[in-house]
Symmetry: C2
Subunit: 293 residues, 2 copies
């Protein structure tokens, strides 16, 4: 059942990408647009835009009007993957079972493709046909949750953990920013699109997404040791190869599964505070815990 509505949402998001970030006509800089769209349309689970649209729907908003927010968020997520894969960062040749952007287009074009997606994401936000106060709020939240104290801060912490061995608390703080940042952006931008700007709603949405992000990331750590490489679409065992501290190296696989379950339960509890129809978000949260790729 979850698969059906997820597929419908994914199809819709791919369509919205074509509207808000379409292929451009032949010109001297088409290559950077193609490289951006290559990574943006590589597939993936589209978790963040789905959460955004579902929060909007649950809170009585119009998901058609929230579409630019959803596309912008996926553009930010994609830019971060392109830049993270670069040789001076994680140096990953593969992404979602395909050559990563710099392998296909070269390092200079990949760098600029990331910059393009990041820059244009805010332009896409500005196109939303919503009251301008909501758009400004969305710009504020997306910038802050993907910026210095959000996703980028998390990425810096992650890189620093190659040199220092983090404690569990430091690992959690890193995940809350690196993975949590954009999931929190998803939930809060969904609230904002629906016009629910009160502190209570926003705080509950943040808590839900942070707990979901921690569960999600711990499961990623587990899958890095246990998954089928073909299903996962990226090399398995890279954490061990890179000597990375993860939940699995600190707690082992069984305990990590328990902790992921606890964070999922917390997320469910946050969900229960919302009064709208939360069936789908509940299904999605369970689905993410049970995924094997």
């Amino acid at each position: 059942m979850v698969d059906n509505w997820l597929k419908e949402y994914i199809n819709n998001i791919e369509k919205q990408i074509e509207i808000y970030f379409p292929e451009i006509n032949d010109c001297g800089y088409k290559t950077v647009s193609d490289a951006s769209r290559y990574s943006l349309t590589l597939g993936g689970k589209r978790i963040r835009p789905i959460i955004l649209l579902e929060f909007c729907r649950m809170l009585g908003g119009d998901i058609k009007k929230a579409a630019p927010f959803a596309v912008a968020l996926e553009m930010i997520h994609t830019y971060s993957l392109i830049h993270d894969d670069l040789p001076c960062m994680d140096n990953d040749d593969m992404r979602r079972g395909k050559p990563s952007c710099h392998i296909k287009y070269g390092e200079d074009t990949a760098l600029l493709a990331g910059d393009t997606l990041l820059t244009e994401a805010f332009g896409v936000l500005s196109k939303a046909e919503l009251p301008p106060e909501r758009v400004v709020k969305a710009v504020e939240y997306l910038s802050s949750l993907s910026g210095l104290h959000g996703m980028i801060g998390g990425q810096v912490l992650d890189l620093s953990f190659e040199k220092i061995t983090p404690t569990a608390d430091q690992l959690i703080d890193m995940y809350s920013r690196k993975t949590g940042g954009l999931l929190i952006a998803a939930a809060t931008l969904g609230c904002i699109a629906a016009g629910m700007l009160d502190q209570n709603t926003i705080e509950n949405a943040k808590n839900y997404a942070n707990n979901l992000g921690l569960a999600f990331q711990i499961i990623d750590d587990i899958l890095d040791c246990t998954a089928d490489q073909n299903l996962l679409g990226k090399p398995v065992g890279s954490d061990e190869k890179n000597n990375k501290t993860t939940f699995v190296t600190i707690y082992g696989i069984d305990k990590s599964r328990q902790i992921a379950k606890q964070y999922t339960d917390n997320a469910m509890e946050c969900l229960s505070t919302f009064s709208g129809d939360k069936t789908r978000l509940t299904e999605l949260t369970e689905y993410l815990l049970k995924r094997n790729y």
Copy 2:
């Protein structure tokens, strides 16, 4: 005279940078904040924020309220310099007489410092205490003029000119995007901050800035052949070394000076259409033509 009010503006902009992008407390990702601030506070002429604030003032706006726009624009300019200097791009070790960001902080941190400035710039825009319609308009213009069809497109064209020899028209198109993009953003965001959103005002502002940008860039080409390296703060003769087509290689130095003068005259003509006090913008435009570094 021009020097006096320019210095006052520059001081003011440095102060606003401390307000909107301050040093952060010690934490695991302070280094990326320090790297961003290193490049942001390296000095430079602050031409773009000055033009923005002067357009706002000329059109009767409140330059205090426009300050976040000015800082955001300088952040975008700085991110572009950091990413342009990276080894996979222009591979420049020096910037404004100091080691460039990746030489001082490493390539991974410089990449993320650029991403930080770009992301946080839109957050700074969102903090402006102006009617939200104006802030949304500023987000739209800043994104588009620094994005795919603006500054980034110009940078891609510039890189492509290492492989193909551009015509004069192609060179002008590249400069209009690469240098022109952010100068046009400066002029138009100044109009937007002042609440002058009518098409006529915006078009005149765009034309002014585009002509100024072309004059500015041609003078850059000339200075690359003729300037004193210590004054310029970057290596002289790099265009020739890199086999770059510039206005000087197409037209020679004397003809290039004439063309720069023509673009400056065009810019002056655009300025004359505005009814406010344009003394300072006139002085600034003349000053930029006569600069020798």
